[in-house]
Symmetry: none
Subunit: 236 residues, 2 copies
Amino acid sequence: MSKPLRIIVDHREPEKLKKRLIKLGMEVEEQQLDIADYIVSDQVACERKTGTDLITSLMDNRLFEQIDRLIETYEQPFLLLEDLSSAFERTEWKKRKKHVYGALTYIFLRRQVPVIPTCQMSETAIALNRIASWVQEDHDDPIIARKSPKARSLRDNQLFFLQGLHNTGLKKAKILIDKFESPIEVLNAILDSNVIYTKTGNPKGVEGTFKNLEGFGPKYLLKNQELLRLSDKNSQ
Amino acid sequence: MSKPLRIIVDHREPEKLKKRLIKLGMEVEEQQLDIADYIVSDQVACERKTGTDLITSLMDNRLFEQIDRLIETYEQPFLLLEDLSSAFERTEWKKRKKHVYGALTYIFLRRQVPVIPTCQMSETAIALNRIASWVQEDHDDPIIARKSPKARSLRDNQLFFLQGLHNTGLKKAKILIDKFESPIEVLNAILDSNVIYTKTGNPKGVEGTFKNLEGFGPKYLLKNQELLRLSDKNSQ
DNA sequence: CTGTAATCTTTATGA
DNA sequence: TCATAAAGATTACAG
């Protein structure tokens, strides 16, 4: 197990919720917070509201003010909306659905603050835990991991490998490997090709092995040369 | 009263919901939609999911595929999450709250797709109505463009590419690119390394750049040299 | 998405 | 050198 997930909690938040977070193995630090209820990192923080809270803060015009301060302070703020249905249980509020969803629409369209709904307090704790996990643990790299089946033929593995190239699916991979025999020769051919530019500096065509190969134009070559050759430091 | 609010609805969506929208005074156009359930404008569209839908589409890996298509197609996509609590009513799903909130976290943190929760179908109609109102009627405040999820960086693409190697996941890909700077240098290093055998012919160790690199042994090198170098004809 | 099991590979250890 | 066990990653699958 690695380091525990940490979270800073406003001291006015319910004790029960803090207990839940601790029970989930988190390190809870209590503070007096002015602009948020929970802080997951210097960039990620949220305001927690129950359905009832939402209505009341909507009625005394406190809601949008709070949201705005959240936006100003944190790069990635969000709203934890716990038990939305509680907003409608009192009969005198039943007619207010239009207001509530108008407010949510405003929050999402105009303010671009994401909302995470939960059904009850225990789930709010789980949600906070998952968010902390994504923010603090090594999920950081937004990689769509590639899963490569293991027991396949050499050719299948080579085709799979080449599909990691930019703009390359099964079809192009097949063309490439049929023409150049082995993957490394494919890559060398890509690197050895040159793009011809017009006088005005626009890519015009290619010279080298790819000259007469349909579907592999200047853009394809440039993109993949970059992919293969560039070290990350130079770019960015 | 100005022009009625318009909305395009996928024909597979529940009849009851369409009726609700009409009752709210909206002009409902039915179509067969491939990538969204409701379209409010060419930029604004959403996928509607009940809690139950969320779980099922999570289990058969359909959820993120749908979300991704939504992102690619519309400037401002969002997710209408109706009756989240229904996700937990089946007892076998009770234990799976972590999955649900993990998914929601992923959707909002990594994909930057907003979620609008509603408690029941009638409220979903109201929410759609409010959103259409914001989008189609004149508001003083313009809609703020969604900050799209950060495009895959060069490094991400390179990591993705290297994961096409044999027995190489994210972890090894990171180690390789950090050490060798660019993908082509990684591959060259693999090809330049040699395996040392014992007198009896068993692989013992490696020489070359990989000599002191933990986690990359003889078998790794042999397998990947084969992957890169062999033309399919020689093998099989 | 999350969790767990199965698989593969390297590395450490002792004979 | 060999054999085996322990540790680490990656892949597969189920819910």
